[in-house]
């Protein structure tokens, strides 16, 4: 099903490197295509939309982002792939039914600060670690 879904993009694999690969099996894994590759996507969590402005003073929301995409052979197209992700990909190639591909997950996370009231109208300023995805990669 992965192969079928990517059919429209097959036309793009005309580079000498890809054309020489030949086998359909390799074509399935050759998803360095920018549209499906593991990367960061924008996602904004809006405290305003949640109707929380009466207790969250700042910020109005934050760009949490998320990681999505495929971690497929060859992994060197993914700049943030870990060394072990390459091994994981090779093992997956040998045994695709039982061994999963590496996961597309955050490699760099940042903190945010939130300023809010508690029930007693005291104000809390708190740092929350690992809230914002700055970079994604294959693990």
């Amino acid at each position: 099903s992965v192969g079928r879904r990517r059919q429209p993009n097959r036309n793009r694999s005309n580079s000498p490197q890809e054309a020489s690969k030949g086998s359909t099996h390799t074509a399935d894994y050759n998803s360095s295509d920018q549209k499906t590759a593991c990367r960061k996507h924008e996602l904004y969590v809006s405290f305003r939309e949640l109707g929380w402005q009466d207790w969250i003073i700042a910020p109005e929301g934050y760009a949490a982002n998320y990681c999505d995409g495929e971690c497929s052979f060859p992994l060197n197209a993914h700049m943030n792939a870990t060394n072990h992700a390459i091994v994981q990909t090779l093992v997956h190639l040998m045994n695709p039914e039982n061994v999963p591909k590496p996961c597309c997950a955050p490699t760099k996370l940042h903190a945010i600060s939130v300023l809010y009231y508690d029930d007693n109208s005291n104000v809390i300023l708190k740092k929350y670690k690992n809230m914002v995805v700055r970079a994604c990669g294959c693990h």
């Binding site: 903190a111 005291n122 300023l125 740092k127």
Partner: protein, 258 residues
């Protein structure tokens, strides 16, 4: 309520959340923030009170200089914000995981004995400090205005006490925390270190009986703190006394699966 960014992917499912799903989503985000319910603060005029303004100052400095070193905070505070947050606060902030301000919960002055009729009381509710947070520093802050009339060239002695024990038939036992000599013409925020007291209050909440202040003239007369320019509950909202505490996470907590 969780909005996707500018880039809409063709295979990304877009739909409006059902009420139940929205509620679950809110619950999950509250859980990320370490809260088990949505706070319901009672804010009549509280928004413009000194404590939230002070905290907003800290927040703005934090977001401007995100994760920078103390020197950068130092320049920020000395150049743009001499009023509310001080250099000490910038340094505490740098080492803290959480900062919390507490409003004075004393609404009416009690009848104290004739000897202490000029004492003023302050109480702070420390019951909602999240678990696992340890106080690294705490300050009591009170604003002093310039006195131009009665005590024009006077100096005052301001004393801050911790209320140790209350008795039904006599004055409360007090423990002197700090004294400060003030000029009548002096104006600005006065900060008193109450770190030890706050830690004691957190450890044994039933001993949290508040603070008292008293003011003496240079000739030893007790006067109402208001006459010395100290702003109390009837003063401007942005000059209300408050308490601020800086916390560091004392234990690593993992969220439990629900």
């Amino acid at each position: 309520s969780v909005l996707d960014g500018s880039e809409l992917q063709p295979n990304f499912m877009h739909r409006r959340l059902r009420t139940q799903e929205k509620r679950e989503m809110q619950k999950e985000i509250l859980s990320i923030l370490g809260l088990n319910h949505r706070p319901r603060p009672h804010l009549n005029s509280g928004k413009y009170n000194s404590a939230p303004l002070f905290m907003l100052d800290l927040y703005n400095s934090m977001s401007t200089e995100e994760k920078s070193d103390v020197d950068q905070y130092r320049s920020l505070f000395t150049t743009t914000r001499p009023a509310l947050a001080s250099l000490h606060d910038a340094e505490f902030l740098h080492d803290s995981d959480m900062v919390m301000s507490f409003v004075n919960s004393v609404e009416n002055d009690r009848e104290l004995s004739p000897q202490r009729r000029h004492h003023k009381e302050f109480k702070f509710n420390l019951s909602q400090i999240p678990e696992g947070e340890a106080i690294t520093a705490a300050e009591f802050r009170i604003y002093k205005e310039c006195v131009t009339r009665t005590f024009r060239n006077e100096t005052f002695l301001l004393s801050v006490f911790q209320v140790v024990w209350e008795h039904p038939d006599r004055d409360a036992d007090l423990f002197l925390l700090d004294t400060r000599r003030l000029w009548a013409a002096e104006e600005g925020w006065l900060e008193f270190d109450i770190t030890a007291t706050s830690n004691f209050w957190v450890m044994s909440p039933h001993h949290n009986l508040g603070l008292q202040i008293s003011v003496e003239t240079s000739s030893g007369w007790n006067i109402n703190p208001k006459e010395a320019g100290l702003v109390g509950r009837d003063g401007a909202l942005e000059k209300q006394p408050f308490m601020v505490a800086f916390f560091k996470v004392s234990e690593v907590r993992t969220r439990t699966a629900r």
